[in-house]
Amino acid sequence: MIRCEVAVVHRERLPDAARHLGWVGSTAFAGCDDGSVVIVGADRASRRVLHRLSGPVTAFAVGHDRLAVGAIDGSAAVIGRAGTEVGFDLGSTVWGAGMIGDRCAFVVGTDVVIARGAAHEAIPLGLGSLTSVTQVTGSLAMVGGVRGVAWLDVGLAARDGWIELPTIVSLGADPRHRFVAAGDLGGSIHIVRSGSQEATELSGYPDRVELLGWLASGGALCATADDELTIWAATGDGLDQPEPTRLVGHDHPITSLSTSPTSDLVATGDAAGHICIWSPLDVDSPVARMRGDGVVLSLAWSGTGRELLISTSLGEVLRYVVTPPTA
């Protein structure tokens, strides 16, 4: 039996729920429903609200040295470690954000707004309402919408082909840059080879495929739909085996997923506050279990893969040190 050692090293309660978490270097950040973007773990006296959007944070992306955040009312900002670099009013709900090269991409209505410094430009994609964006490699991004997915060259601010699909609700880019996975509303995953205009469908999920994540090695894709968590093994040819491996550990809908950037560990959290860490070395049971005090809203591994941040609907934020599995 493989087990992973976990120890909580920080616990705090924020004034409102943090639906988004992320790390810039060794500093952890939270994007909250009261519009604030805060540093997690700063002592109370020095805790800083880095920025306050005018509505709940709905989009949150982490780059090497900056954050891009957007809110339900269209307010958005790019934030560095020292504070706000630039703020925008994008006019409508920001549904997604991505840090792509030296630019930020915000998903707003039917457009992607590309920001560089204080300048920003809206690119209509023709996919209807947009839902998500992810960096694939370099300045290439994929954008999901109600009519499918499109390739976007953020450097050129131009669409580079699209694929008609059912409504896309999640995107996940392979860290080895070979594939992008797109989860749809009807319970299928569409695998798109980088630069391709065709997709392979993996169907059979009970509901929309809400969360996607690739293992750090690129060796497998994790996907969730309702309380179901599956892993598809990936090869250079794609994900073509008939059935994924199902991981059994959650009795309630899975609400958050994060894959470690350095090891093949996956963290998942559910609506009842249960958090599991999984290793592909032991798919029969989680290698660690933790508990939060509300719906698990977000999980985020640190860049070193040694720390895991957890937030819940009651405003609790937990920081765990995770020691890789031992047999």
Partner: protein, 339 residues
């Protein structure tokens, strides 16, 4: 039919009630005032409103989310399983936080299909664990309707007919600005379209908030007026009147035959079903089984949730939709009696 229970995590012992308010531009105003009333009533509630427009009467006591609609499809080009993604996100935002709202009002824009909203609230897995649909309130502006009535077209189009046909409460505003004759004709027309809902005319009789909330209207067997109470309907060219078909029988129904009846109903009519609701007495079940649905979605649960000591052998299912084969629906329903 095996009743199924949606899971409710321990953090949310009671699902938050959702009232859907639809109509013309006056619907947002009514929602704002209803929310204000609930937030400042004898037992103040935390109320959230989700709409596509800003609040016409902003109130710091009400969490008003103005958000653009995102309508998604499970299958490309299939209208029978559309879903409002913006609603799912907004409702999660109002409920999954340290001080969640206790009630939500969703305002449906006049240009939107109300069935997409009701289907989302009933069928989305996140919303099934967080909220329950309390009722549909539809507003009608008497002045605008009376003006259209004068040219023999009282309804603004298919979307208005659709929302009126499934409403649990119909609030007719500005009734004191039209003649008694016009109001009478308007009320007759509305009753023809809708056989479920109470029609309130605040200009004639003040409407208490209790008439609009805590309806539990999408649970249990509905109260449906007889079809002979309906007036001949006047429709604009091209408009189709939604039908209300009442299927009922006394006696215990065969569970397999009943399953087959529901399966056929959804398979054959799916996209055309605006509302499906009832309670059926099925062999092998200690209590009647309640069902409700929209378009291709339907679910069921035991009536014991509503009526602990009551067991009736009367089965009633009401189906509202377009181009329904009423005779076939009724006869096959009666044929499902267990022998």
């Amino acid at each position: 039919m095996n009743p199924t229970e949606p899971p409710h995590p321990p953090h949310f012992p009671a699902p938050v009630r959702v009232s859907v308010v639809a109509g013309g531009p006056e619907a947002a105003l009514m929602a704002a005032r209803l929310a204000q009333g609930l937030a400042s009533g004898a037992r103040p509630e935390r109320v959230g409103v989700i709409a596509e427009v800003p609040s016409p009467e902003p109130d710091p006591a009400v969490s008003w989310i103005a958000i653009a609609a995102i309508e998604g499809e499970r299958t490309e080009g299939c209208g029978c399983c559309r879903s409002r993604l913006d609603l799912v996100s907004s409702i999660r935002l109002l409920v999954e936080r340290p001080r969640p709202v206790e009630r939500i009002i969703v305002v449906v824009d006049p240009a939107r299909d109300i069935s997409t909203v009701t289907q989302t609230v009933l069928s989305d897995p996140d919303l099934q664990r967080l909220v329950e649909l309390d009722g549909v309130i539809v507003t009608v502006d008497a002045v605008a309707a009376a003006t259209r009535l004068a040219v023999e077209a009282p309804f603004a189009g298919a979307l208005e007919l659709q929302r009126l046909s499934i409403a649990d409460r119909i609030v007719v505003s500005r009734a004191d600005d039209v003649t008694d004759d016009a109001l009478g004709r308007l009320l007759g027309s509305v009753r023809t379209v809708n056989r479920f809902g109470f029609i309130a005319v605040p200009a004639i009789t003040p409407v208490d908030m209790g008439l609009l909330v805590d309806l539990h209207a999408w649970h249990g067997a509905p109260l449906v007026g007889p079809s002979n109470a309906a007036e001949p309907i006047v429709l604009a060219p091209g408009d189709v009147l939604p039908m209300t078909v009442r299927c009922e029988v006394d006696g215990v129904l065969d569970p397999d035959a009943m399953d087959e009846w529901f399966d056929r109903l959804l398979a054959e009519h799916g996209i055309r079903l605006l509302r499906l609701q009832g309670a059926v007495s099925v062999a092998g079940q200690p209590h009647r089984v309640c069902c409700h649905g929209v378009r291709s979605f339907a679910s069921s649960h035991s009536e014991i949730e509503h009526l602990p000591e009551h067991r009736s052998n009367h089965s009633l299912v009401v189906v509202v939709g377009y181009h329904l084969d009423a005779e076939s629906l009724r006869s096959t329903f009666v044929a499902a009696l267990a022998h």
